[in-house]
């Protein structure tokens, strides 16, 4: 459905010279420097899949999304969506897609929400009956009722985001691009939005590309993850594969019978673990130990703990994706993929 092949994007930044004379000079002889925002990214998304597209700030996620939606032209490489090239025949291409940029709105600032939807209905030539059905569905999942008559500028961020998502789905797009759709939202609204995305994906086989910094979005929604950094591919695979490959970090949680027993535990010294591979957090009788299970097997960790202190409760937690990704972003894990 979506093929991205070795795509790059260079930005030319004009270096502004100071003063009026400077701007005049740079009008005719601009000094530029090139920035490679995207540097050879490839991936493929089959129909009906939800792809989590992640990477640290400035990795180039939004730039890729802009190229896929036809806003920017790649410097080199190609992308095609459902057999179409986004930059060619823009007007027909964008009929097939829905786009939400979390930091912007496609809604009409000064008008009631219903007006924006009415305009979108005409633009996309949505039939009356389909429109009605769609609005009912979106209303149900996203709870638009309470503010659908208010001017958009009076909406809260969460309301606006729900409204924006609804606007991008009105015409039943084949592909949905979401650039940080959960930015700055509370848990309930995040939940609403995730449900809407999951439901649309299930019912209409909509292919979704989603960028986010909230990894629960990824865990709850994404079938697959593509991670990029500095404009290059870093990881491409399922959440399970990510855990398998990089999930050496485990978490041991236990409750001490006596808080002063803490002094008896010195994991660092006993196992010879450095700061990157070990983290101990304690709060009264509760202790959390995060450790690299490749260096120290879970069994050893447990037996050492049990031999040193008396416990009233203990549990071992699997690698959580947040920890893996934190370490990937901080380059603590080598990438050989």
């Amino acid at each position: 459905m979506i093929y991205v092949d070795n795509i790059t994007k260079e930005f030319k930044k004009t270096i502004k010279q100071p003063g009026l004379l400077g701007s005049f000079k740079s009008l005719f002889n601009p000094k530029t420097e090139k920035i490679k925002a995207v540097d050879g990214i490839s991936f493929h998304v089959p129909k009906g899949e939800i792809l989590g597209f992640i990477g640290p700030n400035g990795a180039g996620k939004s730039t890729v999304i802009k190229m896929l939606t036809g806003i920017l032209t790649p410097s080199s490489g190609t992308c095609s969506i459902d057999g179409r090239i986004p930059q060619k025949d823009r007007k027909n291409y964008v009929r097939e897609i829905g786009v939400v940029f979390g930091q912007r709105t496609q809604l009409w600032w000064d008008l009631p929400l219903t007006e924006t939807y009415a305009v979108l209905k005409e633009i996309y030539e949505v039939e009356d009956s389909a429109y009605k059905r769609k609005m009912e569905l979106l209303n149900e999942v996203l709870d638009l009722q309470d503010f659908i008559k208010s001017p958009v500028r009076t909406l809260s961020l969460g309301q606006r985001m729900r409204a924006d998502i609804a606007a991008s789905l009105l015409h039943s797009p084949k592909v949905l691009f979401l650039d940080e759709p959960t930015i700055g939202l509370d848990v309930v609204v995040k939940d609403n939005i995730r449900r809407a995305i999951a439901q649309i994906n299930a019912e209409e086989k909509t292919t979704v590309i989603l960028t986010t910094h909230d990894l629960s979005d990824i865990e709850l929604l994404a079938d697959r993850i593509v991670m990029i950094d500095k404009g290059r591919n870093v990881f491409d695979g399922t959440v399970g594969e990510l855990k398998q490959n990089y999930g050496q970090m485990r978490e041991l949680n236990f409750e001490l019978q006596r808080a002063e027993d803490k002094a008896l535990l010195d994991y660092g010294k006993h196992f010879g673990l450095g700061e990157d591979d070990l983290k101990v957090i304690s709060d009264g009788v509760n202790v959390t130990v995060r450790f690299n299970s490749e260096l120290v097997p879970v069994g050893d960790m447990l037996s050492y703990t049990l031999s040193q202190v008396h416990l009233s409760d203990i549990s071992v937690k699997d690698a959580d994706i947040e920890e893996i990704i934190r370490r990937l972003y901080k380059k603590e894990v080598r990438i050989d993929a």
Partner: protein, 272 residues
């Protein structure tokens, strides 16, 4: 064609609603311009008083009054601030929200602005024309309203508006390259209002300059419709002038498409 209007008419409706949302801004603006016009009236009144003859370069005081007020509404109606909106959207990157919709930008801006213009025609143009005709009746004692001239005036005003619109779209598109609208719009507007003859009739200018300015696109913006309204042009001149307007419309339309195409190639949308 029906499809076209179904797509873009909602933009006009939105334009009307937006204007109503900011009605006080709009009314104060209109009143401000109106006061300016009245000041100009007294300035010209003083000029005519002090000159010896009842006419000044072929204009009587009555002509001058009609000119002032009609020229005021015409340039008010044909003024297009698409450039500001477009330039601003390019600068802050919100233009992407238009790019992801299956619509032409120029049409969305055009229809949105036309919505507002319809209201202005009703609350500015119609009363102004009634007042001007009443004034002419009082001064000359006879009804001199010419419906044919008036219709041609309307047609020419529409052309003037479209020229103005595409001129401003071209101007706004330069923001793609400069990332900023150079200098102030105030300067641009001041130059245009001088060159277009909406402050001082082009007929008052030295012949050489007058010849040049009549041909330049600026005269198409308001001077031509005003002259038609006042019956200063004969049939042939009207025809030629409107042809000139159509020519400039086509020129700026083509130019805007060209700039757009170039811009798309090297567009950098700003902001994450």
């Amino acid at each position: 064609m029906r499809r076209f209007f179904r797509t873009y008419l909602p933009f006009s409706r939105a334009g009307v609603q937006m204007m109503l949302a900011y009605r006080s801004d709009f009314l104060f603006h209109l009143i401000g311009e109106m006061l300016m016009c009245i000041v100009m009236y007294f300035v010209w009144f003083a000029v005519f008083e002090s000159s010896n003859g009842s006419t000044f370069m072929g204009f009587s005081m009555t002509d001058m009054t009609v000119y002032l007020f009609i020229s005021f509404v015409t340039s008010y109606l044909t003024y297009s601030d698409g450039a500001i909106a477009l330039g601003e959207e390019i600068r802050d990157g919100s233009i992407v929200m238009r790019m992801i919709k299956p619509v032409s930008f120029d049409m969305t801006f055009l229809f949105q602005e036309l919505g507002g213009r319809c209201i202005e025609v009703i609350i500015a143009l119609v009363p102004m024309c009634v007042c001007v005709e009443a004034y002419k009746f009082c001064v000359t004692g006879s009804v001199m309203f010419n419906p044919v001239c008036f219709l041609l005036f309307l047609l020419s005003t529409v052309l003037a508006y479209l020229v103005s619109f595409y001129f401003n779209v071209c101007y706004g598109f330069t923001a793609f390259f400069l990332k900023n609208l150079w200098g102030s719009n105030v300067l641009k507007d001041a130059i245009i209002s001088f060159l277009s003859g909406s402050r001082i009739p082009l007929a008052f200018m030295p012949p050489l300059l007058q010849g040049l300015l009549t041909f330049l696109p600026f005269a198409s913006l308001s001077y031509i419709p005003v002259m038609i309204y006042m019956g200063m042009y004969d049939g042939m001149t009207i025809f030629k002038s409107m042809l000139l307007q159509a020519f400039w419309l086509l020129a700026f339309w083509a130019l805007s498409k060209l700039i757009w195409r170039l811009a798309m190639k090297r567009l950098c949308v700003q902001g994450g």
